[in-house]
C-alpha cells in the first residue's frame, strides 16, 4: 500500500506541475495560434508577475494582508505592459520573417531580465501563502498542500473558462477567425489590430497571473524566465502549437513524464522531456492535438 500511495504522491506532484505549466503555456499557445508569433518574452512576463506580486504584497502589508489583491495587481500590470509591447514593438514585425519576430521577443527577454535584476536585486524573494490556503489535506495516504490543490483547480478553471470564451463568445469567434484568416477578417470590417492587442494582453495577463500564483511555493529568482519559457515551449509543442486543449493535455503529459521520469532515471528526467519534445516534433510537428498548418 505504501508503494501505491507513493506513486499517487508522484502523480499529484506531476499534476501540480502540469496545471502550473498550463497556466503559463496557455497564453503562449494562444498568441502563437492566432498571431503566429513565438513569444520568448512570455517567460519574462511570468517572472515580472512574480516580482510585481511580491512588490504589491510589500506595499499592501502596512494596510492589509491580501495576496489575492497583489496577484491581481501583478497580472493587470503585466497585461498593460504586454499591450504596450504589442502596440509599440511587435506590431511592426508582423509579416516579417520569423527570425525577426523571435529576436524581438528575445530582446525583451534580455531587457526585462536585467530590468528586474536592477529593480529587485539578485537575492531570492518569497511570498507567504494566503492563510486560507495554508495547511494540507490527506488523500489516499499522501499529503497534498491545499495550495497545490488550489493551483490544480485554478488550472482547470482557466481551461474551462478559456474554452468557453473561445468557443461561445463573439470575441472568441473573432479570435478563431483571426487564426484562420487574418486578412479576410479585416476585410469583413473587424478591427484586427485591436483584436491582436487584446489577445496579447490576455496572454500577458495569464503569464503575469501564473507568475504571481507561483510565488507562495517557489522562490523568486533571476533566471526563472529563461527556465520556464523552455518548459512552456515543450508543453505547447507536445499538445500542438496554437491548440488550446492541446496545451492542456500537453501540460498533463509533461507533468507526468517529468514526475515519473525522475523515478525511473533520476539524472535523465531533463533529457526525457526534451527527447519527448523532439520526438513529437519529428513524428507530428503540429503536436498531439493540433491540426497541420496550411
Amino acid at each position: 500500500m505504501t508503494d501505491l500511495s507513493f506513486l499517487f504522491t508522484q502523480f499529484l506532484g506531476g499534476l501540480t506541475t502540469a496545471m502550473f505549466l498550463f497556466l503559463i503555456a496557455s497564453g503562449l499557445s494562444l498568441v502563437f495560434g492566432v498571431m503566429r508569433v513565438l513569444n520568448f518574452a512570455h517567460g519574462s512576463f511570468y517572472m515580472l508577475g512574480a516580482y510585481l506580486a511580491w512588490q504589491a504584497v510589500q506595499w499592501l502589508s502596512p494596510l492589509l494582508e491580501s495576496f489575492w489583491l497583489a496577484a491581481l495587481f501583478a497580472a493587470l500590470a503585466v497585461a498593460v505592459l504586454g499591450g504596450l509591447v504589442e502596440r509599440l514593438l511587435l506590431r511592426h514585425m508582423y509579416g516579417k520573417e520569423e527570425l525577426y519576430q523571435l529576436l524581438l521577443t528575445y530582446a525583451l527577454v534580455l531587457i526585462l531580465g536585467d530590468g528586474a535584476k536592477a529593480i529587485w536585486g539578485t537575492q531570492q524573494l518569497s511570498v507567504s501563502r494566503p492563510p486560507i490556503l495554508d495547511g494540507a489535506i490527506e488523500m489516499f495516504g499522501s499529503v497534498l498542500p491545499v495550495y497545490n490543490l488550489f493551483i490544480m483547480l485554478a488550472g482547470v478553471a482557466i481551461a474551462l473558462g478559456g474554452w468557453l470564451i473561445l468557443a461561445r463568445s463573439s470575441a472568441g469567434r473573432m479570435v478563431r477567425a483571426a487564426a484562420l484568416d487574418r486578412e479576410m477578417l479585416g476585410a469583413l470590417g473587424a478591427n484586427v489590430g485591436a483584436l491582436y492587442t487584446g489577445m496579447f494582453m490576455a496572454s500577458s495577463f495569464l503569464a503575469g497571473l501564473s507568475g504571481a500564483l507561483v510565488t507562495p511555493i517557489q522562490s523568486i529568482v533571476p533566471g526563472m524566465d529563461v527556465e520556464v519559457i523552455v518548459e512552456a515551449f515543450i508543453v505547447v509543442v507536445i499538445g500542438g502549437l496554437g491548440s488550446f486543449w492541446g496545451t492542456f493535455w500537453g501540460s498533463l503529459i509533461y507533468g507526468q513524464v517529468l514526475s515519473f521520469g525522475i523515478l525511473i532515471m533520476p539524472s535523465f528526467s531533463l533529457f526525457s522531456v526534451f527527447a519527448l519534445m523532439a520526438v513529437i516534433l519529428i513524428v507530428r510537428p503540429w503536436g498531439l492535438f493540433g491540426k497541420p498548418m496550411r
Binding site: 503566429r36 513565438l38 514593438l89 511592426h92 514585425m93 520573417e97 520569423e98 527570425l99 525577426y100 523571435l102 529576436l103 524581438l104 528575445y106 530582446a107 525583451l108 527577454v109 534580455l110 531587457i111 531580465g113 536585467d114 530590468g115 535584476k117 536592477a118 529563461v226 523552455v230 515551449f233 515543450i234 509543442v237 502549437l241 539524472s267 535523465f268 531533463l270 533529457f271 526534451f274 527527447a275 519534445m277 523532439a278 516534433l281 519529428i282 510537428p285
Partner: protein
C-alpha cells in the same frame, strides 16, 4: 562592383588577416585575449550564417554543435591526453556527425518548427552535458583543459618569443582563417549558389529538380562541423568546457552577433562578433547590466538597421556612390534584408 579605384584592388581579406596576425607581438596580453575571442566567435557566427543568411534556415540550436566540438576536444585532450592535432579534427567530425543526425530530422520541418526542433536538440545536448557527470563533469564542467603542446614553436624565431596564450592565438588564427576560407569557397561554389536559390524560393528549386532537403542537410552538416571547430578552440581558450556553453540563450547570442554584422555579407558575422565582443568588454567595465545593453542593441538593430552593420555600411556607400555620379535614387535596399540580392563578398 566593377569600380577600378584603388580600394577595390587591395586584397582586404589578406590585409585583415596580416593585421590580426601581428597582435601578439604588438598588443598586450589583454589584446591577445580579445583577439582570440573575436576570431573564435567570428568563426562560430559565420558557420551559423551559412544556415541563416545563405540557406535561410533559422536554427535556434546552433550552440549544440559548438558545445559538442568543445566537449569532444576537451574530453580527448584532458581525459585521454590526446594531442590537439587529433582532438580538433575529432571535434569537427563529432559535431558534423551530430548535425547529420539532428539535421536529418530538422530539415523535414518548415520554418518555426525547424527552429523549435533545433532548439529541442540543443537542449537535449545541454541536458546530457549537465547530467552526465562521468564524462562531461556535469554541472561542474570540465575545468583545466590543457593548451595544445606548442613547444615546437619555441625553436621558430619570433614565434618562440611568445607566451603560450600568444602561440595559441596564432594557432587559432590559422585554424579560423583556413576554416573561413573553406566556407567562402563553399558558399561561392555551385553548391553554395544552390543553397541561396533554396533560400530565395524553395518551391521553385524543388520544381527544377533540386533535392531541397538534401542540400539543406548538407548545409546543416557543414555549418555544424565548423561550429564544432569553433567550440573546440573556445574550450581550450577559456581553459575549460562547461554546460553553460550549450544552454539555449547562447544560441540567441551567436544569432545576435550574426545579425548585428549583417547576414547578407560573408564578413558580416565576423564584424558582428568583433563588435559584440569589444562592446561586451567595454560595457562590463561600467555596468553589470550587459544583457540590458545587448537587448537594446538588438531592438535598435531590428528597427533601424535590419541589414546589420555591414548591410548598413554597404547601403550607405552605394548611396554615396550614386550621389557622386548624380544618379539620385532613393531605393537603398535595407528594408527587407533577406530579400536583397546577396552581395558579392
Amino acid at each position: 562592383m566593377k569600380t577600378n579605384d584603388l580600394a577595390s584592388r587591395i586584397p582586404w581579406t589578406l590585409v585583415v588577416f596580416l593585421a590580426a596576425l601581428v597582435v601578439p607581438w604588438l598588443g598586450s596580453r589583454y589584446d591577445i585575449f580579445l583577439a582570440t575571442q573575436i576570431a573564435i566567435s567570428g568563426l562560430f557566427a559565420v558557420s551559423l550564417n551559412l544556415l541563416l543568411g545563405t540557406t535561410g534556415l533559422v536554427s535556434f540550436g546552433h550552440v549544440a554543435y559548438f558545445g559538442i566540438g568543445a566537449y569532444v576536444c576537451g574530453i580527448l585532450m584532458k581525459t585521454y591526453e590526446m594531442p590537439f592535432s587529433i582532438a580538433l579534427p575529432a571535434a569537427a567530425l563529432g559535431a558534423a556527425f551530430a548535425s547529420l543526425v539532428f539535421g536529418f530530422f530538422c530539415v523535414r520541418l518548415t520554418r518555426i518548427y525547424f527552429a523549435m526542433l533545433s532548439l529541442a536538440f540543443s537542449q537535449i545536448i545541454w541536458a546530457i552535458a549537465y547530467k552526465w557527470n562521468d564524462v562531461t563533469g556535469g554541472d561542474q564542467g570540465l575545468p583545466d583543459v590543457p593548451y595544445p603542446d606548442l613547444d615546437w614553436m619555441n625553436s621558430i624565431p619570433l614565434l618562440g618569443d611568445l607566451r603560450i596564450a600568444g602561440q595559441f592565438y596564432v594557432v587559432t588564427l590559422v585554424v579560423v582563417g583556413l576554416s573561413l576560407a573553406a566556407m567562402r569557397r563553399i558558399i561561392h561554389s555551385p553548391f553554395g549558389r544552390m543553397l541561396t536559390t533554396i533560400r530565395e524560393n524553395a518551391e521553385r528549386a524543388s520544381a527544377i529538380g533540386v533535392d531541397v532537403r538534401r542540400y539543406e542537410l548538407a548545409a546543416f552538416v557543414v555549418a555544424g562541423g565548423f561550429a564544432g571547430i569553433a567550440g573546440a578552440l573556445f574550450g581550450i581558450f577559456s581553459r575549460g568546457v562547461f554546460s553553460d556553453y550549450v544552454f539555449w540563450p547562447k544560441s540567441a547570442e551567436v544569432m545576435i552577433m550574426t545579425i548585428l554584422g549583417g547576414i547578407n555579407h560573408f564578413w558580416g558575422p565576423v564584424v558582428g562578433a568583433g563588435t559584440l565582443v569589444l562592446l561586451n568588454q567595454e560595457t562590463t567595465s561600467y555596468t553589470e547590466y550587459w544583457s540590458f545593453v545587448l537587448g537594446t542593441i538588438l531592438l535598435v538593430l531590428l528597427f533601424v538597421f535590419p541589414g546589420g552593420i555591414v548591410g548598413g555600411l554597404s547601403a550607405g556607400f552605394a548611396w554615396l556612390r550614386r550621389k557622386r555620379k548624380g544618379v539620385g535614387s532613393p531605393e537603398v535596399g535595407t528594408a527587407e534584408p533577406t530579400r536583397v540580392e546577396v552581395k558579392r563578398a
